[in-house]
Amino acid sequence: MRRFYQQISFRIWFPYALVLLILIGFVTINYPNRQARLFRENKERELRELAKTVALGVELSLSTNDFEGLKRTVDFVSGSNDFEFVSILEKDTITKKETVFATFPELPESQVLVRDENKYVYQEFDFTTSEFTGCILIAASREKFDALVWELNRPVYIILPIVFVVGLIVFFFIARQITRPIFALTESAQELGKGKYDISIPGLTKQDEIGELSHAFDFLRQGLIELRQKNQQLTQGLESEVELRTKDLNDALARLENLNKISKFGYYTYFIEEDRWTCSDSVNDIMGFTPARPHTFAGWVEMIVPEDQEVMAAYFKNLIETQERNPVLRDWQILRPIDGQHRWITATTDFVLDAQGNAVSFSGIIQDITDRKLIEEEVSRLSLVAKYTSNLVVITDANRKIIWVNDSFEKLTGYPKEEVIGMSPAMFQFEKTDPETRKYIRECLEQELPINNVEILNRGKYGNEYWLNLNIVPIREESGLLRGYIAVESDISERKTIDIALRDSELRMRQTMDASLDAIIIMDLEGVIRFWNQPATNIFGFTKEDAIGVRLSELIIPDQYKQAHERGMAHYRNTGEGPVLNKTIEITGLRKGNIEFPIDISIVPIDQDGVRLFCAFIRDITVRKQQEQIREEAQQALLRNEEELRKMNETLEQKVLENTKKNLDLSRMIVDQEKLATVGEISAGIAHDLNTPLSSIKAGAESVSYSLETLIGQQLSQADPELLSVAIVLAKPIVKEIYLGGLQLRQESQRMESYLRSLQEASGLSDELRSQMADKLVRCRIAEEDSDSIRRILTSRDPIAVLNLIQQIQTIRTLLDSIRISVDRASKVIRDVRSFIKKDVQSSQQRILLRDNISVVLNIFHYELRRDVTLDFSVDPDHIIMGYEVKLFQLWSNLIKNALDAMDEETDKQLVIRSEKTAAGVSVSVENTGPEIPAAIISQIFRKFFTTKHHKSGTGLGLSIVKNVADEHGATISVQSANRRTAFTITFPSVDA
């Protein structure tokens, strides 16, 4: 309901009413005031005229003695009711004092003389005669004045409110008249709004603005009628549509429920307050609920496998407490009550909140993921297989871009996953990769065909080449669409290398057999020659054609051995035994022209394609025999060396024992406990330091022995003296690198092979021989710069033999040098020990080089220091003091031993030894990072038998000895221990220049 002041009639009426109110108010206030003012002015004027008249009458009566006029005047004045009294006041012309002469009507004088302006209105008029000076005072009542003014204004006060009220009413009706049509139209609009379109619009006959508005409303009404008709039609259409959609929706819901069952989906809702949950039928199917099972939280938890029940309860209680909207989902294994089956489910959770934001329930979806779990487990197992198999596994997409590789792949290729993801597997192929193989792989993949057992040479990140056996399988969706490829590759490098080596070996064997110094002859069980190599021709003078098919005994066996040979063959054929088989025997052979000469022959039975053959290795040992003497001498030299070494070792050990004994004696002389501890530690270090070079000496001696046997037994015996002399000349005294790595060897061999190709002297060599030469040159550490040496070798009669000799000689020399170095090292240890433990026979102080003196002690403690102590040894080599060398050893050894003991249980062990030249002399500080020495005991540590190492071997004499030695040298000693560092500083007196 609209309030009155909100109505338009009020808004029209109110301004008029306001203006009228203002106007009436203005008139009501101003008009009576003006009337009163004019009235008072008029009355005062009248009073003044009366006073004047009286004065004139008095003046005239006194002047003319005509008191009759005065009487008439008085009568005239007294006839008026407008005044209260009139007085004649006489004024003293000198004192100006007024006195009342007469008053009409008579009044007390005081009432006249004292002017009461509140009560009266006064007017006076002066007059003067010869005998009288005074004035006429006339007074009118002010109350009467006001009464007269009220009487005068009373009509105004009555009429104006009436006018005001009438005006308001008139204006109100005018306003109502104006707004009535608007109200009528408003009601019409409301009716239209209610849907009553059959009403008649008022004011249609009016010609003013209201009439136009009424026509507009009528137009609107007609439009609404049309719209309603259209709306009705549309509604009917929508209802039909809704009906159809509802039916579709119901169908969809039914299908969804079916799908849920098929997909093993379902929804549930748990009402927290009621501890009750509901679920769809598909959830009942998944969970295997029995109807009797309580649909409570406890009932839910009981379905989880026992080991997860507490976890499940805690999980959902935590969810309810935290109201986490998107909790981390996890899978649960359930035990179906209906059939006892184990299944896996996953559940989502979302809360329903009340108006206060409290969770009232949560609901979500449950899915049976048992199948997925099984697949995941299978996949997990397969992943483990793929990941950890020694085979390389590569998975690509359909575009043959790598999307996954396993660890073995990374290990072999050298590429981490990140670098090969998105790349093509062809990136590992290179110029050596067989083009035919590459083509075959490409064609198969283009036709989406599997590839089985294809061998390919690839190259890894660091240039490493490797052979792979490829098995590639296309991965297809069920629709047949290609998803990618899985390649399982096995590293067959080793086998390929062996195959290649075998192939090369066969070739080389043939070449070697031909190039060998030994004659190789193969014969069958009948003694008929089946194979005859070139050296056999060289040695025996018969060509291959001469020999093949001829009985061995008839060709190269001297007469005195033929019978034995035949007997042996027959014996083998009968018994399978051959006393000379697999042995090297020295006999004589028969060269073409019936020349008999010494040979070594080794006969080995071999099977070739199931046929038993005999392979005879025959070597002309004519030269070897000639070198027998040299060999004997070399062996004698070797034996002498070994004897010397053995004696040296014995000497060293004896010296160690002696020195240890001396040291023990020395220590015992000081204090038994201290000596024993120091000797023990020194001995352990010495034993270790001596053991290392002795081991090297032993290993070197064994190697030398072996090399000499090889050199003498296999090479020198057959070597041409010329070749031997060349080898001796070119062999380097010491070769640091006698053993080369495979990669370095290959790279340098390739370079050397290239170099040999450029040499004219090597132009006649076959590729195989050149490769062999290059390999041997590299092994002998003969570089391209040694072109003279290389040319000399090439021009020799048998370069390979020369290089073999050089290699052996160099090896022996290098090993002997390493033995010498080890002996020097052991000697140094012995020397230091001797210095340390020797008796102090000095009778007077000598100039001592501080660094050398301390170094002897550090060498003694070398073993202990090397283990886990960081040593900072900063002692100036020029710092010299005067002292006793051996006693100083004792000083330093005690300080260092103390420092090592202090740091025994520390992880960060630092030993700092520094020297500094000061005004007082030379200071040496020995600092360690062991525990700090408590301030309370610092003053006691130099006392005899004071120790903090009761649980160890401390005797409490070490620092006492230090103090004594320092005193003996006139040195001062101080200790600083703070911030995990303890330093002993010994200041020796300056040495006079």
């Binding site: 009566s61 003695n65 009487k71 007469a102």
Partner: protein, 150 residues
């Protein structure tokens, strides 16, 4: 006799003495004046009566005729003896006396004349009129001379 009564008696005697003395002087003053009247019914008046009439204390004669007073103006010769004998004051004060009487409505105002003749004429024409003129002025026979007795 009480002491209060004594004092009243003494006061009365003194007042009587004064009055006797006054009458004596009035007898003397009045000799200078002649009081005339017209149909006043009176030929003789006591001084006090005469004074009351001239001081407007009596407004009618015994014959019920209204008293009309005629007096010499201040400029007339008889003004001074009139003022002195009748009003006991100066001529100017006689005016103030009558001003007061008229202003307050106590009496009908007298008529003043500059000459005795004008006064006599007025009295002759005005019944009930009483006037006073100089003693030496002849009085027509139509007028009654009112003798003033002590």
């Amino acid at each position: 006799m009480s002491k209060a009564y004594y004092h009243i008696t003494i006061g009365f005697l003194l007042l009587a003495g004064m009055l006797v003395s006054a009458d004596t002087s009035a007898q003397q003053a009045w000799g200078e004046l002649t009081v005339i009247g017209n149909k006043t019914g009176q030929t003789q008046l006591k001084t006090s009566e005469a004074r009351n009439i001239f001081r407007a204390k009596a407004t009618t004669w015994p014959n019920k005729v209204s008293v009309t007073i005629a007096l010499p103006s201040p400029q007339a010769n008889a003004a001074e003896p009139v003022a002195r004998l009748i009003y006991g004051t100066k001529p100017a004060s006689v005016q103030k006396f009558w001003l007061l009487q008229v202003f307050q409505g106590r009496a009908t105002p007298p008529s003043f004349f500059d000459t005795d003749q004008e006064l006599i004429q007025f009295v002759q024409k005005t019944p009930g009129a009483i006037g006073v003129i100089a003693g030496s002025t002849p009085v027509p026979p139509t007028l009654t001379i009112i003798s003033i007795q002590n």
